[in-house]
Structures are given as C-alpha cells and as structure tokens.
Symmetry: C2
Subunit: 399 residues, 2 copies
Amino acid sequence: MEYSVSDKLKNMKPSAIREIFKSLTDPRIIAFAAGNPAAESFPAEAFGTLAGDIFAKDAAKALQYGITEGFPPLREFLTERLAERFGCDKNGNTTLVVSGGQQGLELTCKVMCNEGDVVICENPSFIGALNAFRSNGARLVGVDMEEDGMNIEALEEACRQNPRAKLLYVIPTFHNPAGITTSLEKRRAIYEIAKKYSLVILEDNPYGELRFAGEELPTIKSMDTDGIVVYCGSFSKVLSAGMRVGFVSAPDAIAQKLVVAKQVEDVHTNQFFQMLCHAFVTRYDLDMHIASIRALYKKKSELMVTSLETYMPDCVSFTRPEGGLFLWCTLPEEIELSAFVKRALERFVAVVPGTAFDPDDRGVSHSFRLTYATPTEEEIVKGVKILGELVKEMLAEVK
Amino acid sequence: MEYSVSDKLKNMKPSAIREIFKSLTDPRIIAFAAGNPAAESFPAEAFGTLAGDIFAKDAAKALQYGITEGFPPLREFLTERLAERFGCDKNGNTTLVVSGGQQGLELTCKVMCNEGDVVICENPSFIGALNAFRSNGARLVGVDMEEDGMNIEALEEACRQNPRAKLLYVIPTFHNPAGITTSLEKRRAIYEIAKKYSLVILEDNPYGELRFAGEELPTIKSMDTDGIVVYCGSFSKVLSAGMRVGFVSAPDAIAQKLVVAKQVEDVHTNQFFQMLCHAFVTRYDLDMHIASIRALYKKKSELMVTSLETYMPDCVSFTRPEGGLFLWCTLPEEIELSAFVKRALERFVAVVPGTAFDPDDRGVSHSFRLTYATPTEEEIVKGVKILGELVKEMLAEVK
C-alpha cells in the first residue's frame, strides 16, 4: 500500500551515524565512528547501590507518573549548577528535565518554527539536531566553521538573506563533529547578531563538563541579558547515555511552551532515573566523578593525537581537542572521501564521513570524524596506523 | 521580550488534567481526577531484585546508548505477545518500543499529517492524544460516541466532508474518558470506512490488558489485512507508568518513518527499563501479575458503581466499566458542569470535566470522569457521597 507520509518526514532517512552504530556489532571493527561515551564514565556501582535504595524505600513514587517539568529536587539541583558552572542565570529562566539533550533540541525547534522557517546552523553540525529540525519541516542554512567558530560575516549574510530565520543553532564548546571551540570574541558576536536579527539562539553544550586542556570559556547563555538563548545540556556524557536524561535552561515564556510540547511527546522523562540522578549528585561527588572522566579522555585523546602525528602524512590535518569526545581530520582534496571511508571499513576501521554533518547536503566535505572515547588504547594506535597507511596508498594511486 | 512562537504551539495550553495533577498534592483532596494507575499495580519488589542483577551483570549495556527501534529481546517478546493476545499479525508489521504510548500517538501524527491535515477523533477523546495532534498542526474533527462506540453515520459524514483527513484516532476498548467499549460490528464498520476513505487508523489500547468483566473483543488491528492500522500499547498500566515504556505495532513502511521521527525526539527509550521489562516478563509471570491488577480494579470499580447507585439521584447516569481505570458520569442538563466541578473541589473531591476531552472545543459536555484506580475504598465511598449530595443541592437550587 502507498501511504501518504507527511512532507517533512517523506524524504528523511535514518541518521547515517545511527545506521553505522548497527554495523558496529562486528567485533573485528575498530569503532572510531561511534558517538558513545566510554563505559568507564558510567558510575555503575553507585547507581546499583542507589537503585536498591530507591526500589526499597520510594518505589511507588519512582514508578508512578511524574510531572512534565521534571522531578523537582533534580530541577533545583540543575538550576543551581547551571547558574554556577555555566552562567544560566542572566534573566528569568526555567530549568526543565528532558529525555536527553536531543529532546531539548527537537522541542525548541517545534516551539519556535513553523514549517518552512529557517534554522541557521554551523557547517558542519550535529546530525541529530539537523534531522530534528528537518523533522519539524524547518529549512537549514549552514554557515561555514573556521578554526575559532563560525565565519561571522557569513553568519550576518545568512541572517540578511533569510528573513524567515527563527533559530540559530550552535555548539560553541568542543564542537561535534568539528572539534572546535568558538572563541570568546565570536561568542559575543554571535549573541549580538542573533539579537539584531531577532533570532533565538539554541546553545547545545553536551560536552561542556569534559574540558581536559586549555581555559574555560563563558557560555553564550551567560551573556543572555535579553532572554534570547535556550541552553541544552545532558547527563549522557557524565552519568549515562542510555538513561536519556538531559536538561534545558530557557527564558520562562519559551520554557512554558517547551513543557506543553514535551507533555504530548512523552508526558515526562523516566521518573526513576531522575530520582537516581538526584540521589547520585546528593550522595556522591559529581565533580570528582567528572574529573576521572576528564583524565580518561585526556589520556586517550593525547594517544590519538600522537598516533596521528606518527602515522598520518603531513597533508592530513586534524584538530587537537581540549575536551569532548571527537577529533576531526581533513584529507587532501585529491583523496575522494567516500572511497576512503569505504576502504577503511573494509580494513575494519569505521569513521564517519564529514558529508553526514552537512546542513546543506552539498556533499563537498574532505573531513571525517574520529572518537577516542570508546576504542581501547591498542585499538587507537592500530586503527590510526591503518588509516595512515590507507591515506598513503590512496595518495600514491592518484599521483 | 515577545517571542515568535510557532503557530501550532502558540495557542496550546498545558493539559487540564496534568494541571489538576499538580493540585492533587493536597492530602485532603479525594483524587477522582487522576489518570494514574494504582501503586499496587507496580511489581516494585521484583523490579528491585531484577535491577540489582542488571546493574551487577549488565551495567555497561544498560547505561549506554541503544538502538532507536528498541531493545531487541523486548521487541521479540512484544511481537509475539501482540500477535497472540491482540492479533497484531495480519500483514507485514514492525514492533517498536516507544517512550510511553503517548509517544506512539504523537509520532504517528507527525509521520502521517502535514500542518492543516485532519485527524478524525471520537468525541470525547483522550486529551493527551488530542494535544499531540494539535502540537503537530493537525485539525481535529470529533465524531460523537454512542453507547457502543462512534456514531457510524456521523463518521462517514466526517470522512466525506474532510478530504484532508489522514488519520482516524480511536480507543475501542475501555475508552478514556467515556468508559465505552466499541462493539464488534462497529469495529468492523470503522475499519471498512477507514479503508474506503484511505485513512490510517490509530488504535490506542493502553487498557486492553485490564478486562475484569464481560467478553474479550478482537482489536481493529486484528482485522488489518490491508495494512492501515497503527496499534499503540503500553506497560504503564501493568508494570510502571513512570518508566515511560510503550510500544507500537505498525505496517513496515509506516514503522520505518516512525523510527526516523523517534530518533530525533529522544534517540531511544530508556535502555535500562527496556531490559528490566524484558527481565520481568522472562523471569516472572506477567499474566499472573496482570490477573492481580484486574482483581484489584474489579473490586474498586464495583465499589464505585455501588456507591453511585446508593448516593446519586436517578437523573445522573454513569457507565458500568468492564475494564480500564475510568467511569463516566453524566449530569442532568440543568446542572452547570463547570460550577459542579468547582464546588466539588471546594469540598475536596477532584473530578475532570468532560469539556477537557472535547476535540472540537464546543464546551457542551454535561459529563465528568472519575477514576477508581488510586483512591482508597474509604475515599471512594466518601467522595461519591459528597458528589451525590452536591448534585442534590444543585438540583434543589435550580428548581
């Protein structure tokens, strides 16, 4: 039977990355393509202890319907922490618990955009967000990234040319996939341009807790004296990805609409895990736990950088991450990206081609994304060596 | 600041019922208004035991990202059970795990409807579904319910008058709020009309496991030889509402789009609770557990019916539920519904006015919804007595 599918979903395909995930079950594959945090970052033992307590003492509350805005003690904790650590306190803000940062992104677009409205994004950008915007019928306009963040002239030009632009989506810190951290100057410029063109900024900060080198930078939300920034964060990279607990700090009027939109999507976020998160931050030391994750990623990222320096020819450039999970490599133009990715997979090394992150679907990327979070140290060295050899082979073929 | 909120969300307000929930924290209130299942229906002790096992043996999997379609062993179990118990096996179907039945309803509308398309609904109908459709910009057309289900002539007329109708939303078994179970003849008629007008039927069956009187009736999905029915179910009323685990059985082509739409909403449903549900159905007897819930609701519903027979004047009619959580009372026309609800709350009895369930916002209902699931037996008798006295008072006032 021919179904009449909605225009916004008709041409959407499952995320390329999520499809790669499914193929990663082959144990021979070195999975540089994944977006998963390291299993060591999950406080499994503490969660086990706390879960036992909750089921013993508070099961009726943990298993019953909760309120859409989130478990009140967790919201209180988050409001305080987001103010202290990330400056989410510059005007009337409401903190909401959502089912992963992803839901915060999707809801914000649903609330702010009609079908056909424009979301201005960084190019490249996080595919999960791009697809969330597409699923709401929004049109995407990409602005190229430079080493210190978006090209500001191109951003202003995009704003001028798109009067239907409603939302400006940015990942200023440890950008996925580009590994870039937007400079303080550009953060300020982005804020001013959004204000000038009456855009709401959607600031996505899933990796903000994971800095292991360099200096902390203020969030764009911390500059939000005008109430134009929706800030999304998540516990996925510090407590558990599979539990689907994230959070949003938004100007009150927007937050009220986010609640309405969330209520009809899933009523509320898993109640037990909201209580578990709150118990963890109350009875354990979250900052000490995060410090251990930072140390882990620092070590693994340094090993990946060293391996790239050792095995990659000089014509391949790559970022030196100061935090987060990802590293972004750029091939010389004479190497065809899709052939490279395919041949790497034949040698059991999976990477994500940059084309997957293109808001405009131009397909011109020469870059690919690597993660150091989940592969073992042996796999990092071995996998990078295989990629280096492949680059050299392909260079020899085109010469 | 004035925000430019999307047309579809601009005029939406939080669900009246969810707002009533928040006021139910007052311990003096007898909460006939809630939609919560009884806390006794949650297998808290078994969950505690199983959770300990999962955190001890399988934490890395339980806390990591999973796949959008759902935890494979749980999907296999659900596919088999839905085929056996509810006839979800009449064509190529895919079973998906979703974050509560609510998400299944919302996703189906997002996939099938453009902004401005029409969803035909029963009148009254479940407010969470109605708002989910509204949040996707769909227009609602209500068809009045009779004692044995929708008025079929009115349904056909609605189909004729609305060429943009895409979806037909029904709750054939233990209807929320009307307490009605649609007859076999009307189920067949609804299927044939949907087929004739190329509508997809969205069959919502959250209470289907909770029959405590009368004969089982086949689902509309069990008649689905043409692949036009999306079936939504949930563990909320048999294992836990707060965990947000539901499921959908849909024709493959629709299911594929539901996966794409779900991926961008929350990536996947809480992984730990999917594993917990699977462990429960594997190691415990789900049917025995459900039998105990049925016995509980049978007893409480009978008490509520007896109390209504005792305390309500004859001019008040009410349903005799054969399952589910709700009972639907209709006042004589001379009593003003909103005044009745308000005065009941002043006497600490909370009920939901029928106007909250009106797809067309005509505000003409004289009915209200009662639940027997969460109040104690003492509260049921006391609360119904208060309502009966209030009806008599208000009748005396208008005479």
